[in-house]
Symmetry: C2
């Protein structure tokens, strides 16, 4: 075992990759796991693949996020995209850039988070890449499979009259970030911000139930709903009274001295990003899986137009190129 | 068409992703291409996947590398890893981080390079991710397939007595970088540094010929040969007289005022990285594909021990965690 205080520069690539690779990852009938030019996966009826990057300063600050949580979060947000296709995640690849002064202890913590979250998702880490940079960048590629004959849940399949369902409690990550930035003592909302709880199994449940479209809420509920309805060529009406509410959001808004507590809670729920709940549309007649709360309906209308309690509202939330707006 | 001077911050994520996505990429029987949570690929007998990141300041400087070349290079180095498994590349995913002040013209150039190199490799771009950062980071995931029943070419399959074959001319990228850093006028070696010419088809040729192991030369010929032989549990003897030589290396060494021209050329050939030629081992009796030059043989011996013209030599080249050494 390498001393945790040894830096990445001192230890060299092979030692870092050894820590990152974790337990040997030869999966079932995969011909090649870690340690070669590329990983080779066994036969699949259809392969789902997605990639995402977390950049220090943009997505996280190392004084606010620990290395293990960083690893979990990087994996979780990619797994979430695989789930949102109605698939299950099976493999993870990690491309990592770190300053040379990063210690092997920090790498070990990061690796622990990556492997723990992969395991929670039923996936294993099959490859990676390491390079140096002035800031920490964690790039993850998640790969999943669909059973033979299963159609993926696209973002553009919603039809007028579908019920809109959402897993999880929206706004917890945004409230957690606000508490964190205000220096409030550690609590469950902090944790929700640091590592989203991806709804393992719920994407498949939506697919089996007969959902018409599915996406994950990464940029904010309203923005992602607007994106799904725009892609599908429909409008939508959202009912805030139906939104599943974490009572801790009110407490957080009060603690932070929000001028209008209800408004603050609503902002977090509608525009807060990174909750990574699943947002799906279900046609009349199908049984909506119990983990989905019905929060509105789709309708004929200008593509992407969403009303909230009958009024038009422009999505806030996160635009990756512009930053928060 | 967006004005090329508009910045990424001004244009917003959707506009940037539109430029990056290029022509619609619905591939053959792929159920879902660009624009959803994840891409979905059609059935394959075995899937090869690899990921790699280029970081500004570590791998490139924007004053020395244009955006189009950056896109080509990011794709080429990942395609190279897929080829090195004896597979052909079919799909590319791109995760991009750029400062908000990056112009849409620069994004368009980057996109052009990405798509051009993907097309050269027979692959299409099926997904991506965009985020902001203080430096430019281009993360690429390359996916390839192996025909039904084909065994991937692993890095650990070499046996004593195999002939060692290499495609391309080693050292050109390193010599090009040296010329570039010295401010010498543009020439073919500069180009070799900016965009490696991946040997499309040669990985498959090596597999069909019956190669025992294959890898790509990214960190330096000696370092990568040492890696292959270490993984395979064999030693190797390299014959520098057999190395395919680009005569321009001598010219470059002279122009740069190297104290010992031959020594400089040898250093570039043995320790220069990023040529992305393919390095394979071929057992006695098989016909080596003509694009591979035989440069030595494997033998019984301490795993990874490589002699050069009968003398031990420690690999220089590139260690991702330590930097050049």
């Amino acid at each position: 075992m390498t001393d945790r205080a040894v830096t990445v520069s001192q230890a060299g690539e092979a030692a870092v990759l050894e820590v990152l690779s974790g337990a040997p990852a030869q999966v079932g009938n995969d011909p090649v796991g870690n340690g070669d030019d590329a990983a080779v996966l066994g036969p699949a009826s259809a392969t789902v693949v997605t990639t995402d990057m977390l950049v220090e300063g943009t997505h996280f600050r190392l004084d606010l996020t620990g290395w293990a949580d960083l690893g979990r979060r990087a994996v979780a947000q990619n797994v979430s995209d695989v789930l949102a296709m109605g698939a299950e995640c099976s493999r993870i690849l990690v491309a990592l850039a770190v300053p040379g002064g990063t210690t092997m202890g920090e790498i070990a913590d990061l690796s622990e988070g990556i492997h723990a979250e992969a395991a929670r998702s039923g996936a294993v880490v099959v490859g990676g890449d390491l390079t140096s940079a002035d800031v920490v960048v964690v790039g993850v590629t998640a790969i999943g499979t669909l059973p033979h004959g299963a159609a993926p849940l696209r973002i553009d399949g919603a039809r007028p009259g579908d019920r809109i369902g959402l897993t999880g409690l929206p706004g917890r990550s945004a409230a957690g970030l606000a508490l964190l930035l205000a220096g409030r003592p550690e609590g469950p909302l902090h944790r929700a911000h640091r590592v989203p709880e991806t709804p393992i199994g719920s994407g498949t449940a939506a697919r089996l139930a007969g959902a018409t479209a599915l996406t994950d809420v990464s940029d904010g509920l309203l923005r992602d709903l607007s994106g799904l309805t725009r892609a599908s060529g429909v409008g939508a009406d959202l009912d805030t009274a139906a939104l599943p509410r974490d009572p801790q959001l009110r407490t957080a808004a009060r603690v932070l001295g929000a001028p209008d507590v209800d408004e603050q809670v609503l902002d977090w729920m509608l525009d807060g990003g990174e909750d990574h709940g699943l947002l799906g549309t279900f046609p009349p007649g199908v049984t909506v899986p119990e983990e989905f709360t019905i929060i509105g309906t789709t309708r004929e209308g200008p593509p992407g137009e969403v009303t909230v309690d009958g009024r038009h509202r422009t999505p806030g939330g996160w635009d990756s190129a512009r930053g928060a707006n």
